[in-house]
Amino acid sequence: MTTIQHISTSRRIKDRVVQGLVYLAFALAVVPLVSVLWLVIKNGAARFDLDFLTHSMRNIGARDVGGGAYHAIIGTLEQVLIASLISVPIGLLTAIYLVEYGNGGRLSRAISFFVDVMTGVPSVVAGLFILAFWVLFLGQPFSGFAGALSLSILMMPTVVRSAEEMLRLVPNDLREASYALGVAKWRTIMKVVLPTALTGIITGVMLAVARVAGETAPLLLTVFFTDSINNDPFSGPQMGLPLFVFDQAGRPNATAVDRAWTGALTLILIVMLLNLVARLIARWRSPAKGR
């Protein structure tokens, strides 16, 4: 009868050390998250009131207390909505092309590759492109719509990727059953494939919205600044919540920095809420798919 040899001490120590390092890495990664959230809540809570949410910065002097982000919140909601209206149809149709019509041909491979590359386009470059094309080349003014255009460029690849993934999950049996009944391909896609994948697609869109809602750089170059409420995204400079934070953070007065923190808190709440709802939809839809 042979006994199983014990693992030598040096090997065991090495194993333990690596395990410690791996745990440490995870702890290190969580520290900044906790620190950011804690600081934002601590510094932002002071001004987080109804006054902040319902007033703009109009007629608020450099050192005045008060003022709010109402104009910025309106701007962000409108810009993100328009960006979604542009990018969701294009992104969804592209995903449909890639999954249902592309058949791995040269065009679909090219589109697929450049969608991946497009996810890596820096947000500031998307803003510069709209600046160069929309403002400088076409001579259009700075506006909320221009900002929405730049955001839609950042949204499109995310929407395509998530929608594509969801469409591929739809079982082929469903498509075949529909074809067997003599239903045309496009009606099969509209009536069978899309409804099946719908919740997944909504999750993807919401995550994409959450991503662009926090983008500052493209807005900086396309929306410009304003302290007043501008409900019309098509004319005149607008504001956005991230832009508001950036603007206030750059001012030297403590009152402005306070507003920046509260703006940051509002922004994080919006983004986290979108994220959470998106994940909940995904979970509610597919309880078995948890990993």
Partner: protein, 326 residues
């Protein structure tokens, strides 16, 4: 996965009588194809319009665009990308050096160390790092990280000042390159961790179990079965992170002091990047100044494009290889 249902125009699985063909098929198909082509068109248009709007400014440039350190397109019309490009590359490289080991550790933690039940929620926690908007990281960096780094920076400078990165005279600490790089590292960590985690989870179970059955410790199993398999994935994840770090704008625009020089002294308040300069310089830019910023954006676009294409090619090659092995 590989079964093809849809063949073009009446393959065996989908053939239907021509008379039953719906009127909507053609338009729908064209719309889907058109949307894909629009996406390709946008990528091309980004390049075309950045170039066309940059040319007038480049022609008005009185210095050499690639070697000049000064950035003064609004006044003397002398501007060059050298200092900015250097800052972009150095800050992202530092961010990558800081983030990659931690991200790999996090990925291993989620894929092989954490209890199964907790792995999902803990992974989500890391993903939340990516959900924090860039401007919030900038605010946090200025208010929290910059003061926090003051003392360690001075200590490093006094005791390890012979090392080029820690050298420097006069003011040490404050809005430094290292502060910006740490913030960039935090921002790219989730993407590197997420991709690495996926790759580690794909590592062949058989190899892992074989290693364990031969008496390997967990670390030996990971070193023999998981890491060799995951290496290309980790490399491309790091490159995607690098592209992200280079294009990151607002956080570093708030932290970097917007100086125009080339120095490796990361503990002194000398730092800038292409993206930060665009965000900080746009407000007071003249038409030539805007053109100059667009030209710098074009350089950034090309650099990130190359990094991303390289990363994607590694991933895509990997995908086929994994599918063939499965």
């Amino acid at each position: 996965m590989t079964t093809k249902v849809s063949t073009r125009d009446g393959g065996p699985a989908t053939s239907r009588p021509a008379s039953r063909r719906s009127h909507g098929e053609g338009p729908f198909r064209y719309a889907a194809t058109g949307a894909g082509i629009i996406l390709l068109g946008i990528m091309a248009a980004i390049a075309v319009f950045l170039i066309s709007e940059a040319i007038p400014a480049l022609q008005a440039n009185k210095g050499h665009f690639f070697s000049e350190l000064v950035w003064d397109p609004n006044g003397s019309q002398v501007f060059g990308i050298a200092a900015l490009a250097f800052g972009t590359v150095l800050s992202s490289a530092l961010a990558l050096v800081i983030a990659t080991p931690i991200a790999v550790g996090v990925a291993l933690f989620i894929s092989h160390y954490a209890p199964r039940r907790l792995a999902g929620p803990l992974g989500y926690l890391i993903d939340l790092l990516a959900a924090v908007p860039s401007v919030v990281y900038g605010l946090w960096g200025v208010a929290f990280l910059v003061p926090l780094l003051k003392t360690p920076s001075q200590w490093l400078n006094e005791n390890l000042g012979w090392f080029p990165l820690f050298a420097g005279e006069g003011a040490i600490g404050g809005k430094t390159m290292i502060a910006g790089s740490i913030v960039l590292a935090i921002m790219i960590l989730p993407i590197i961790a997420a991709i690495s985690r996926e790759v580690f989870l794909q590592a062949p179970k058989m190899n892992e179990e074989a290693a364990l059955a031969l008496g390997a410790t967990r670390w030996e199993m990971i070193r023999m079965a998981v890491l060799p398999f995951g290496r290309p994935g980790v490399i491309s994840a790091a490159m995607l992170g690098l592209g992200r770090a280079m294009g990151e704008t607002i956080a570093v625009a708030l932290i970097f002091p917007a100086t125009f020089d080339i120095t490796f002294e990361i503990l002194t308040p000398h730092a800038n990047s292409i993206a930060a300069n665009i965000a900080n310089g746009f407000g007071e830019a003249t038409p030539i100044g805007r053109g100059a910023l667009i030209a710098s954006g074009l350089v950034l676009f090309i650099i990130t494009l190359l990094v991303n294409i390289a990363a994607r090619m590694i991933i895509n090659r990997r995908k086929e290889y994994a599918r063939a092995g499965a």
